[in-house]
């Protein structure tokens, strides 16, 4: 049954030398003859295997090492240690046959030529990736339809909104039908509607073309909707690798109930319903925050609403940072 994994890394490391400069005028003068540096361990021993067709989410805070890992898998960075293998290739060798089979999309960087219509970049990519005419037309049509961009691909890229640009970026990246897709913060800066559109698209693409996808994101929703499997990376190390549902069940145990009351209530009464995190009573405003077990959250909310003079209630997921913090604190202890 075992097909070899499409992506495989063992003990991957990337250490950077970063030069430090003392601030101010004197620091600049000093830097003329002496520069201090420190070693930043961006990636410090990560290992995992990914099978064909999987969608995996990389979760981690800024600077955790997600993008660096992706760059090593793309062949952009030369690993300090460890040999990644993608589609059987060593990405660092940057063989043309390898590059034709994968795509890297970074949310903040663009591939599209700025002052020309997106469609021109598409044709350029066709030439660069040597996509046969028929396949190109077919794929282009399909992608354009899926993303609904028919009317904007002939407009200059610089005149497009961020969301429209992102859609075109995706198309440009997918024209050559890559088997492996690395998405680095693809939904950053986009509004909620656009985020959903992109998520649906990625899901559809994976289903239709069977591409293997690694996705990094700050937004829990991205990962939740798309990835069955999640890898949490912190300070260059892999903290967790497994089903996303497991993390949520295990660590995102609580939901946060934010309550606003019209009349004063007692702490004790509230504490019967959950973990009281915040409580404020200044004579005119009465608010409280309760942490309630996930599964019971809705039920508890209903009870609180009926028992207390609640004016406003919000039920929230703890943000991903909180979940990760929980995960880390568990690992730490």
């Amino acid at each position: 049954m075992s097909k070899p994994p499409i992506i495989s890394i063992t003990n991957l490391k990337k250490h950077f030398k970063v030069y430090k400069k003392k601030p101010g005028l004197w620091g600049s003068i000093q830097s003329l003859w002496h520069r201090e540096y420190e070693v930043v361990k961006a990636v410090d021993g990560i290992s995992f295997d990914i099978a064909e067709g999987e969608i995996v989410g990389f979760i981690g805070m800024n600077g955790a090492g997600k993008t660096t890992t992706l760059k090593m898998l793309s062949g952009l960075l030369y690993p300090t240690e460890g040999q990644p293998s993608v589609l059987g290739y060593n990405p660092w060798e940057r063989k043309a046959s390898f590059q034709k089979q994968f795509a890297l999309v970074m949310g903040q960087k663009n591939q599209l030529w700025w002052d020309l219509p997106a469609v021109e970049t598409f044709y350029l990519n066709k030439a660069i990736y040597e996509i046969p005419d028929e396949q190109f037309e077919k794929t282009l049509k399909k992608l354009v339809k899926l993303l609904d961009v028919e009317d904007i691909i002939r407009i200059q890229v610089r005149k497009l909104s961020l969301g429209q640009r992102m859609k075109c970026e995706l198309i440009a990246a997918l024209l050559h039908n890559p088997k492996v897709l690395f998405l680095d913060e693809p939904t950053i800066g986009l509004d909620v509607v656009m985020q959903k559109t992109l998520r649906d698209f990625i899901k559809a693409y994976n289903k239709e073309f069977g591409a293997t996808i690694i996705l990094t994101s700050h937004y829990m929703d991205d990962v939740k909707e798309l990835c069955e499997r999640a890898i949490i990376i912190d300070h260059g190390k892999k903290i967790f690798d497994g089903k996303l549902q497991d993390i949520i069940d295990k660590y995102a145990r609580n939901k946060k109930l934010s309550l606003v009351f019209s009349e004063p209530v007692t702490k004790k009464d509230l504490q019967a319903f959950g973990d009281l995190k915040e409580f404020s009573d200044d004579g005119s405003h009465y608010t409280a925050t309760l942490l309630v077990a996930r599964k019971k959250a809705t039920a508890v909310a209903a009870q609180v609403l009926s028992k207390f003079p609640v004016v406003d209630v919000t039920i929230e997921e703890p943000p991903i940072e909180a979940i990760i913090r929980e995960v880390f604190s568990k690992e730490g202890s």
């Binding site: 940057r94 590059q99 960087k109 002052d115 020309l116 350029l124």
Partner: protein, 263 residues
């Protein structure tokens, strides 16, 4: 190979579209480049006007040197400058990764991606003046000599480009250097004039150590029948080849050390 040919012309098409997009820009720079061409000819006209011959070159022969210079200079500003600026900018902005990901030789992409059509008129003027002067002087060259002239001209262009490429690749090592792209153009003066103008140590420097002085001189000397030493010609061709190979090797080595910004 076919793919690269195809891509090259695709880029030219894109350049053309861009030029049409910014039409007024194109006309403006056309005027500017013509102005500089006239300025160059005028300047040397003023100096050479004071004397019969300069370092053994007659006025008309000097015009030939200047015309070769104009053609190479046109290439410098329309091809090299645009590319190299794009190259160093993409290094500083981290966009270089875009090129590294594509299944095409990165050096090819960096070289051919962007060329400006602004200086084509300048190139043509240089060529026309060259031909007119040659006709006026009643010059006749054999096919062999003509071929050699073309080869040497191309050599000169490759030499400048390789040197420039090496300098631009330095941007992969240094944090931020604003005028790295001004260095090569700064040396243009050296080949604006025939190499015989230089004397002493300087002559040695610009003939052997940095054979910039040969770029326009050699083709001019062949054209005007001054018969430069064959050894010198060979030396120049060899030196250019070495420089080009060094540029390539240096680039590959530098890429290894390169880490994209914003990782």
């Amino acid at each position: 190979m076919k793919k690269y040919w195809h891509l090259f012309w695709h880029f030219r098409k894109v350049d053309f579209m861009r030029m049409m997009e910014y039409r007024t820009d194109f006309v403006f720079w056309l005027i500017v480049s013509l102005m500089w061409t006239a300025f160059n000819y005028f300047f040397f006209f003023l100096i050479f006007g004071t004397t019969e011959s300069v370092a053994g070159w007659s006025h008309q022969e000097l015009v030939i040197v200047l015309s070769f210079f104009t053609m190479i200079d046109a290439l410098t500003w329309s091809v090299f400058y645009a590319n190299m600026t794009q190259y160093t900018q993409s290094v500083f902005s981290g966009e270089l990764s875009k090129y590294l990901l594509q299944p095409v030789s990165t050096i090819f992409l960096l070289t051919t991606q962007r060329m400006s059509y602004n200086n084509i008129p300048r190139f043509l003027i240089g060529l026309i003046v060259l031909v007119i002067t040659a006709v006026k002087m009643d010059i006749s060259v054999s096919m062999m000599e003509l071929a050699l002239i073309v080869v040497l001209f191309i050599c000169g262009a490759v030499f400048i480009y390789s040197g420039w490429f090496i300098l631009a690749t330095l941007s992969l090592w240094v944090d931020k250097l604003q005028n790295i792209n001004d260095i090569m153009p700064g040396f243009r003066r050296v080949y604006q004039i025939p190499r015989q103008v230089f004397t002493g140590v300087t002559a040695l420097t610009f003939t052997f150590i940095f054979p910039l002085g040969l770029i326009t001189s050699l083709p001019s000397e062949i054209l005007t029948g001054k018969n430069p030493p064959v050894l010198l010609i060979l030396y120049f061709i060899v030196a250019t080849t070495c420089l080009a190979l060094t540029a390539r090797a240096f680039f590959k080595y530098s890429i290894k050390q390169y880490s994209s910004v914003g990782g």
